[in-house]
Each structure stands twice: as structure tokens, then as C-alpha cells.
Symmetry: C2
Subunit: 342 residues, 2 copies
């Protein structure tokens, strides 16, 4: 068994934030202990071969607070989060499992609302909830309800997605504006005195991914949904896993004014804010134009943009060129400025 | 959509206990809202057809308190609970997914211990943990850690398990002594002033089930692991789902003296106490002898017994004949005398 490198004495909120502390916990404790040939690295879906086909498996727990917010709720997140982990693995969501941990005293109407939200989001995403479980803990031992979903799907046979397939010169495309989800949840907590017309971007990205697979197929090298830790953490992980550099144009990353304003007010970087309905795709350069054409022609993909490219320079490092002509190194999220956003 | 029949205003501990209140919540709220052709009824695994083969899918959350106890811990339970749900569906556990909800402030050594327990139990059960997730909630919003596992496995093609295949005259076999798990966890809480040499029965039942499938195959009609709600709730559900009666000899049900003593002291019925390493099998009468021979010849199956049979009399009712010559109707668990035992 590999040596454990996790040295923190206690678990802190940052260990669940999707940034550096999460990576330290996963790489320093979970992966060395659980090591086996089938274990998926970090937050990817696992892929197992069955009769020559590839089945993708993924799971996520949801602890968002508050339970509902503009544009969604824990029930919708639980469907989209898991469906999108499958989608960016190139797998159409086929079946979902859902388990509820309920706090005694929870209003039954809140539970009903969230089961309906789960059911409707699943139906809209074309995936069936096939099994589940319910546990109840004493009042004060949870926070209303926690929801865990697991999902399976077949990986499209035309695809071969892996950071090891990413090459210098590959192009990086982002599906739409970032930060909407994290800032929406933050505002829903009412802790910030800011009025804003903003909704979570929570949605299934499969319809966009499916069109992309149909058009670009093996020209797609890698995809990721930038949830916890945001676009910065997703690109940093890609740079590390591919052992290549990434350069992107910060001005090309779509950020709504209200999200940018909230981030400035709070000292946050939109690149670190979680999204629940966007994805990043790395495509071979000869497929860039078609990628953008296909996404722009698909409902929900109108705002897709090329934001940068892969380079052999500065391996394992992400560099943003700023709108003012400078450049800066972009790193993974440190700490947890926005806890429990999914 | 079917009408919701769940009328309770708030969620209570009993809704998670695996007895009548759980069934009311699941049948009155979850099933009507989530209704779809693939949805598994209650706590069975779901089965989906893929290329002519049947894939079983199941999931459970674990909230046991305390986190560890004689014979096991939340990490071992999380493997065995899910592996056993697959096993009694006739499926060899193939892959597990695991998600952790951690309470901020948790001692990192406790987490390490439970990840090791999970890993070792999975290795012993011959199943790989292939993906996972970690979330952290504030101190006071969980109880150390909660663990959710999902599992998949192929259903053995020789089997056809269903309550609708159960016939009058079928024989009911129990794999071993009951109540060990629930009473062990109760004692571990230290709330009862009772010293006892007792360990949880938590284990994978797949090795026993596999031998049974190899020998009896289609003569196996139905299986269930009697976890929350105990043997009484499992048999009550079978009687309801098969629309048949069940008669069993209460004196034939193996119960250790220490478990019987603790139950008498606390006013509990061993038939309602949770097990994590036993299963009930309904077999065609001509296969009874072979079933017992096979189980007795397999390590861990030495204590298997025929406990009763299926009858066309008193449909939907379970009747126990007592050691004193009388008989009583055995019902599902009501309330939750032993919360958070898994």
C-alpha cells in the first residue's frame, strides 16, 4: 500500500471545496488506501469494460445550503451533477440511484418538493431513477436533507477521452458564462446585502455534449464540468494530469456583470466559482470551428467560446492573459470561500 | 401521477427504521412521484436489461451510531449492506461507488480508519471501489461521517427471483442466528447496562448465495437480507408482495442467548432486530434438502435452518407458532426502538 501523505489532524470545510485541500485529502488518503486498477482518479467517472463496451459509473453527495435557490434546488442539482459527470465522460445518462439522509423534524412538504424536483429533473434529462434508500437521523445531526446520487451510462464508442490524449495546440472551449451557480447560492443565503437578478445554471449538459460527439467524435480529447473549484481548478487539474501548459484569455471567459460585481465585492475570483451547467472541452485544432458551430446551433450552447489553448511551454501551469495585456498564473482554489454550494 | 397518500406533517426517526412508517413514506411519497417502469419496489435492487443480460443496481446510505462497534464499523457495513442487496438479487457484486459526508472537526484518523475498513471489506468481498466523492459540512450538521455506497452486479442468468414466483408449499430457510447486529450496536452505545460477548454479524453473504445458486438455481424463488425491520418485516413484505400466507416455527429461528436476554430486558422482539450478514431464501420444496446441505457445507452457513413455509391460508399474513404450542401474528416493525443501527 502506498504511503499516506495526508497530515492534517482534522477535517475542515476546505477539504470538501474541490480545490487544493480536497486534492490533498483525496490523493493523500483516499487513493492510497483504496488503490485498485479500476479506481477513477479524482472526480472523473469510473469506466469499466463489459463485453467490449465501456460502462461509466459516477456518484456525488449533495449538501447544498439553502436547499433551494433561484433556478434550482438540491433535487435538481443531484440529477444534473451526476448526469453531467457521466456526460463529460462521454456517456449518456442511463439510470440514477438516489439516497436521502433526512433530519428528524423535516417538514414533509420540503421532502415532497425535493423528490418532485429530482423526478422532474430526471425526466427532463431522459434518465430514470431506478432505486434508492432513506435514512433518518436525529434533529441536529443533519441540515434538513442530504441527497446522494449514483449514475451509470454507456460511453460512446467513438470517443477516447483522456488527459493523456491532449496535445500542444489543442483548443479549449467553454460552453457558456461562469459563476452563476455559486453566486446564486451565496445570494440565496441572504448573508450578502446584494440584490441581483441571477439564477443557477443547473442543467444537464448531455444535449450539448451529444451533438458535439456526433460531429467531432475522436477529435474531442477531454471534457470536464467545472463544478466545485471552478474553471481554474478544472484547468489546473488538466495541466497537471496532461503534464502540459494551458494558456487562456481571461477576457474571453464569459462572466455576467452581476457575477463579476458580486465577486469584486466579496474578493472572489469568478474562475474559482462553481458551475452546474457548463463544461470545458479540449478539441483538436482542426475541429475548433466545427465545435463552435455545433454548440452555437444547439439550444443552450449559444454562448460557447474558445477561451485558450494547450502549450508545451510552462508544463503543469495555467497562465491567463489579462484584458490589460499582462499575464498571471491561475491556480486551484485554496480554502473554501463558498462552502456547501452543491 | 398517482395520488400521494403520505399524510405525516414531519419526518420522524421511525420513517427510517425499515418498518411500517418507512413503508408508508416510500409507498405514499417516493414511489408515486418517482414512478417509472424501471423503479425497484422498496428495498430491492433495481434490475435493468443490457444486451440480453440483467444488471442489478442498488444503493444505501449508512448513518450508524457509534461509527464502530464489536465486529465492524460504518466502513464495513457500507460494503456489506450494498453487496448483500446485490447478492439477494442473485448478482455477484462487481463494483462499488462510495461517497462520504464529513462533519468539520472530524479526527482525520477516524476517517483513515473507516476508509481502510471500507477498502478491506471490499477486498474481502471481491469487489472494487471504483469511484467516490467527499463533501464536508459544518461542525454540528452531521455526526462524524455518513457514508453512501452504490453497487452494480450481473444477475446470474440461471435465476428468476420474484415474490410472484413464490408458491404455497415453498420452504423458508434462514442462513443463521438473528439479532446480533442490532443488539451489538445498541450495546456499543453504552446506554444499556449490560455486558455481553457479542459481535455484529456484518459480512458479505455472496459466498453462501453463490453456492446456493450453483446448486439450486431456478429452484430459488426469492431472497432477502433482513436488515432494518428484521426477519419479521422481511417476511411481512414477502407475504404482502406474494399475496400468500407465511407460517413459521418461532422455536426454529436461531437466536443467541445473549441476544434473547437483551431483547427481553428491553422489551424488544428479536424478529424485529436488524441483521447485516444473514439472508432468507424461499426455495421450492423439492430443493429444501439440497439447500440445507449446501449451506451447511459452506463456511458461515453451518447454522442455516428451515424456519417455515408458504401457505395459501391467511394471505398477506405471517403467523408464528410458538414453542409453547400457540400461535401469533407477526407484523412489521412499528416505531423505531433502535435508531441508526445501519
Amino acid at each position: 500500500m502506498a504511503e499516506l501523505r495526508f497530515r492534517d489532524a482534522r477535517i475542515e470545510m476546505a477539504h470538501g471545496a474541490g480545490g487544493k485541500a480536497s486534492r490533498r485529502l483525496i490523493e493523500g488518503l483516499f487513493l492510497p488506501i483504496l488503490a485498485n486498477p479500476g479506481l477513477a482518479p479524482l472526480d472523473d467517472a469510473a469506466v469499466i469494460e463489459i463485453g467490449g463496451q465501456k460502462l461509466a459509473l459516477t456518484t456525488d453527495s449533495f449538501v447544498v445550503s439553502p436547499l433551494s435557490f433561484s433556478g434550482g434546488s438540491i433535487g435538481t442539482l443531484a440529477v444534473h451533477g451526476t448526469a453531467n459527470d457521466l456526460a463529460v465522460s462521454g456517456a449518456k445518462p442511463l439510470a440514477l440511484l438516489a439516497t436521502f439522509i433526512l433530519e428528524a423534524g423535516l417538514d414533509a412538504h420540503v421532502l415532497e418538493r425535493e423528490v418532485r424536483a429530482l423526478s422532474e429533473a430526471a425526466r427532463a434529462a431522459g434518465v430514470a431513477v431506478v432505486a434508492g434508500d432513506t435514512k433518518v437521523v436525529e434533529h441536529g445531526k443533519a441540515d434538513g436533507l442530504y441527497l446522494t446520487t449514483a449514475g451509470i451510462g454507456w460511453v460512446d464508442t467513438r470517443l477516447d477521452l483522456s488527459p493523456t490524449r491532449v496535445r500542444p495546440g489543442d483548443q479549449i472551449v467553454l460552453s457558456g458564462p461562469i459563476g452563476d451557480h455559486g453566486i446564486t447560492v451565496l445570494l440565496a443565503r441572504g448573508e450578502v446585502d446584494l440584490e441581483a437578478d441571477l439564477s443557477s445554471d443547473t442543467r444537464s449538459v448531455w444535449p450539448l455534449v451529444e451533438r458535439l460527439i456526433d460531429s467531432v467524435a475522436v477529435g474531442l480529447r477531454w471534457m470536464r464540468d467545472p463544478t466545485r473549484g471552478g474553471v481554474a481548478s478544472a484547468l489546473s487539474e488538466l495541466a497537471r494530469d496532461a503534464n502540459l501548459g494551458i494558456t487562456f484569455d481571461e477576457g474571453a471567459v464569459p462572466v455576467r456583470d452581476v457575477v463579476r460585481g458580486a465577486c469584486e465585492l466579496l474578493g472572489l475570483d469568478p474562475l474559482h466559482i462553481a458551475n452546474e451547467g457548463q463544461f470545458i472541452a479540449v478539441v483538436a485544432p482542426e475541429h475548433l470551428e466545427e465545435t463552435l458551430t455545433v454548440l452555437h446551433g444547439t439550444p443552450g450552447g449559444e454562448d460557447a467560446r474558445r477561451i485558450g489553448s494547450v502549450t508545451e511551454h510552462h508544463p503543469r501551469t495555467v497562465v491567463a492573459t489579462t484584458p490589460y495585456g499582462g499575464s498571471r498564473v491561475v491556480d486551484m482554489l485554496v480554502g473554501d470561500p463558498l462552502p456547501r454550494i452543491c
